[in-house]
Symmetry: C2
Subunit: 347 residues, 2 copies
């Protein structure tokens, strides 16, 4: 076994603290990565606080991982020692069901294995994530990372980037379309950059007037303060597509009425209380409300390549691992522009 | 003006009673139809009881109209005296907006004019529906009816038929697909016949075990009693498409989990209380929930021709107009197989 260190929640809701553990020995198709940076996702907080049902503790969170390859198994072909590599939200899936065969491992019909808080398919134990100095992952779930971008700022692409890129691509967002982005946080600011690069007309909905200048700077063409019903109603029946990145409970219906006929609104955030849905908002205009979960490995690579080409990274605040508990408190207050990334040298 | 008689609600929630009124004189592009049969839609009850916001009284309901042409205006080309003709839910729209130009008058961006409880676009007055001996309608909103089918049983196609046909076609239901129909009433029984004719594998969801035999007889391949969670869960992740025809409040989420990845569920019923939506039911499987409103005139004609080709009509109970108040009470209890149609000779 490979000794590893990291930060973990030892039990539900306990603060994160230093933790020693073991990674599995390298298999023939495994890549051993020295982690340099790991992004901090809001779902990390939900899971270490056990808000999403029974978690596996101690829990080392983190699924926005970038670093350098330390070692490769005998059958690995895509990576060699010294290469940059990334790991996102998944580290395994059956690769045999129809969804996996279409490159949609996130919808694996036998269940994908999460990068942390998951059970290895072979029963060898629990998966541990990126708040750590290293990770061992099968090659199929490792991503190739361009050296042209700021590596720390690349790490959030592995979750926030793909979670927003995948629905924008699946629903065929393209030049000239009017695209709304609800929420301007970790996911929302990535959606704005990506939709802008896809040449859409991007409108950000936010409750915070203080975010307007940043939204415009990062690629939005318009900002709507969503508490202002006059501003909202000016956009009735006009959007081709709206991506809802907000996890806090909020009203979906007002946004549905902003879609044009046959328009689509897609949810990527998971509020803990179910909102009410007015069927008339869908029926009047043949509108559709969908959902989307991260993205497949092939599409994640496509997204990373798209970002390298368009010079897109996340806007981040780099922190040492010792500040992680403080960072969680700030994230809960929305006080981060726009993603914390842990500098793993600090470990 | 043309003298007409019918049955009307004189004021909100009053019973229907005999009513004399006037239709407009024939314009150059108008068709004057002697009404032979008019289907009774659940929305008639909502409107005469003023449950959908302020209605216009006295109100002559009815938008499933078939009969014979009595007279035509000078510029009418599609109809001649003696032809069969039908009128559905709409009698006018701008015919100039993008939706109208695509043949989707039901989504007219300037608002379509309902067959009753509507305001004529030229300000000449209120529209009155099919519980009447005649109607005057512009040619563009008159449908051609085949003489090969039982005319009384054709009338419900003008609303129940097109409301279910349009989403089945728009979402491309086709041979071999697994299609669910929620509810087995006026709309549901038409959806079963139509989806069967489109060669789908049709599964009916009903709360009433007593309806199972009829559902199978009319074209369903399977019936699921929706209160039985074991039966429901056997269909998890398996439907390509589910059409929800139920207007009473009910849980959408359990049905969403029965859709396969990328499956669609479409609402055509309007519950008066908004159901709760669990976003996870959409996100896990990239599922979509949509809505659909009746259908355009061109598609209504296509549906009528499809029904004539496949020998599809509604299963009806023919009543004299004098039984209309009793029929409403029975409909509210779900006691109709599966659509009341008024024989207008009784007027």
């Amino acid at each position: 076994m490979i000794k590893a260190k990291g930060f973990a929640a030892i039990s539900p809701k306990s603060p994160l603290e230093s933790f020693q553990f073991e990674r599995r020995n390298l298999r023939d198709n495994d890549v051993h990565i020295e982690i340099q940076y790991c992004g901090v996702c809001h779902s990390d907080i939900h899971q270490v606080r056990d808000e999403w049902g029974p978690g596996i503790f101690p829990m080392v969170p983190g699924h926005e991982i970038v670093g350098r390859v330390l070692a490769v198994g005998a059958q690995v072909t895509k990576f060699k020692i010294g290469d940059l590599a990334g790991v996102g939200c998944m580290v395994d899936a059956c690769l045999d069901c129809p969804s996996c065969k279409e490159g949609l491992e996130q919808y694996c019909e036998n269940g994908f294995v999460g990068t942390y808080n998951g059970k290895e398919k072979d029963g060898t134990g629990t998966t541990h994530g990126g708040y750590s100095n290293s990770i061992v992952t099968r090659e199929e779930f490792c991503l190739t990372i361009s050296s042209n971008l700021n590596l720390a700022a690349v790490s959030p692409l592995l979750c926030a980037g793909i979670t927003t890129y995948s629905p924008l691509k699946h629903w065929k967002v393209s030049k000239g379309q009017k695209v709304g982005v609800i929420g301007f946080g970790g996911l929302g600011h990535m959606a704005v950059k990506l939709a802008h690069a896809m040449e859409a007309h991007v409108v950000v909905f936010t409750t915070s007037p203080s975010k307007a200048a940043d939204a415009l700077r990062l690629g939005a063409h318009e900002v709507v303060i969503s508490k202002d019903m006059t501003q909202m109603k000016n956009h009735t029946n006009s959007f081709d597509f709206i991506l809802d990145t907000v996890s806090a409970p909020h009203d979906y219906n007002i946004y549905l009425t902003l879609l044009r006929r046959d328009g689509n609104m897609v949810l990527v955030g998971l509020p803990d209380k179910p909102p009410e849905l007015y069927p008339g908002a869908l029926i009047m205009g043949r509108r559709k409300l969908g959902g989307s979960l991260i993205g497949g490995i092939k599409e994640t690579q496509e997204m990373l390549d798209f970002c390298a080409k368009h010079n897109i990274v996340s806007d981040i605040e780099l922190i040492p691992i010792q500040k992680i508990n403080e960072a969680y408190e700030r994230m809960i207050k929305g006080d981060v522009k726009y993603r914390f990334v842990i500098d793993m040298k600090s470990l």
